[in-house]
Subunit: 263 residues, 3 copies
């Protein structure tokens, strides 16, 4: 279980330092991701052109690579940024969106993992399983598997890659290959808002920017996502208002709310 004092220290650190989080992410979620990072107190930048990747990745405190709407020119940018961040010791969060849905996605994931050495890999169950087993088919970008079934694959992926692996689902599991953290906060309606998984990766980036214990940073991020989602659902009539309330609640998140909701 995570320590609330550590979580609050890191959350406050994000709000004070406002770390620059460089996102190379998909078209679907860019607006929400940027707003979530602003709401938690970080400073987001979205940039992907190969021509500026070395420079942009150099000034950032964390790099988030998300292949949701990948194409060759973007992959080129991802690899340059990832290698730059790795060389500088900047935390890299990798979101293998749709791994297992097409060979292009799965192959790109393996290339990014090999060349950029992500610090944290965050995906849904079938994405994580697809990075280990070759016979998993992801349904587009939605998981075809429950998160529990992916824990062993996550541990194996963590051992193989040296990354912390974070699986989102009804229960979130975060592992460094040895320890497995479980986060049961969250709400089912969150799966009806597009890109909250991508937001989780970005928020993980914000925590990794201020805490180099990546197992802790990734877990804290999932706790914050889950609690924020739970609180936001209470005031929501459906996924439209949930998307909006999520940002408001992330902005207003305080220790009292965290203590009340943490499991």
């Amino acid at each position: 279980m995570i320590n609330i004092k550590d979580l609050m220290r890191d959350l406050n650190e994000i709000r004070i330092v406002s770390p620059l989080v460089h996102n190379i992410t998909n078209y679907v979620v860019m607006n929400n991701t940027a707003n979530a990072l602003l709401a938690i107190g970080a400073s987001p930048v979205m940039a992907h052109a190969a021509e500026e990747m070395e420079e942009m990745a150099s000034i950032a405190s964390a790099l988030v690579i998300n292949i949701g709407t990948l194409s060759d020119p973007w992959i080129k940018g991802m690899l340059i940024a990832g290698k730059t961040a790795y060389k500088k010791g900047t935390p890299i969060i990798f979101d293998p969106v749709g791994a297992g849905a097409t060979f292009y996605r799965t192959d790109t994931c393996h290339k990014i993992i090999e060349e950029c050495h992500p610090s944290i890999i965050r995906g849904n169950a079938s994405e994580i399983m697809a990075l280990i087993k070759h016979d998993i088919k992801t349904k587009g970008v939605d998981s075809s598997e429950a998160s529990d079934t992916a824990v062993e694959a996550a541990k194996e992926l963590a051992v193989t890659t040296g990354a912390v692996v974070s699986i989102s689902g009804a229960t979130d599991y975060i592992t460094d290959g040895t320890t497995v953290m479980a986060v049961t906060n969250g709400h089912e309606m969150m799966t009806k808002v597009t890109g909250l998984g991508c937001t989780a990766s970005a928020i993980t980036g914000a925590f990794a920017a201020v805490n180099r214990n990546y197992l802790m940073a990734a877990t804290e991020a999932m706790v914050v996502m889950g609690i924020t989602g739970e609180v936001a659902v209470i005031e929501s009539e459906g996924p439209g208002s949930l998307q909006m309330n999520f940002i408001d609640e992330l902005y207003n998140l305080d220790e009292t709310t965290i203590i009340k909701h943490i499991k």
Copy 2:
């Protein structure tokens, strides 16, 4: 007029089966389109890279092609996906955004229609007219014509292409070249929310995934769009809240609401 029992059967089918709807659409609306598909119960995927189009289109239950922010690499992806879907008998919904505004758009539309044989073409009045007549100028992506004036062009386009043609406007008209269905649900404020036409195309995709009578599928989609919009407007202070409430109402749409509002 459509049959409410058929509509409810198809709506429930979408919610149970959660068909994968593959969208190659524009940057402006991707988030909203994905959220609308999730809200109605479908599973959206946004992907455009030529390298993965055959595979992605193969696993999808419907393909939505929308040229709102087109460019050559995207057109390449659209054509591969469209040909793949056509070969497999997967329904293809084509949204000719801005046809008639530039030659590039109009030419691309003709190429997509010829090579991919869309099942349903859904656009505004001047877009539909531009695909038949050469002297129509679309004002950017907004219609310069009322929907009524495009009915004859829609019938001609349906006969020429073999597609069902769906025109959105104050009254929506849907035709297979012989029968013309008219849908009078909807609200004027919907024209002040960007991309609700694109959402209509995506929702049409969800219905086409579960009902191969494309005249019916396209009509049901427009009824759902219109009723959802009407109900959402009631609680909205302007187009900002309408965009959000639209998603909530689509998520909560039930038979009682449909019976109360259908015209």
Copy 3:
């Protein structure tokens, strides 16, 4: 100070004429920018492909170029559109997002300014300073400087380029190199919503479409942005609801509200 009668005349003109505003902008803000332009009464089009830039820029009443997520194919489109608009005397608003963060951005800015001769350059303080001084580092896309510190740079930039320069910040400053207008409306929470600066550029485009006194058009736009933001903040629980309420309030903005809030 601006004249409220002039402002209302221009606002009403936008609502009556609904000028087509052509945006070549970034992926993060496209949806919001389009919605803001619709809310104020303009007709937005988002298009970037080099193949259609001459034609699209020719039918538009204003062109907004924003380099937020720039890449080479987009820069190509920007330059064609900008040269076309310049030749036709169409107002060009240029938003140098992230100038000073990477050489790629700063260099692109200089190229666009030289080749397209923007009518209005609108950015934050460090972006404007980066276009004059070479030693300013923008923190991604967020300003590292207060707006006051950039007034001299703005005046110099205005003189050098012939453009009106508009700096957004706690106080907005707008200058043609001689006169400096100051707008103190606005609210700090607006900086927590991604892309409200980009929205300001788009709204500036709408005003420039109806008023060729660019110093006035740019100032009116910033007054409208500031007042709308202030009113929207009152009903907002955080930046999520602010983003939504901003669109509603822009749609509902009337003379009474403007008179009540203008400073």
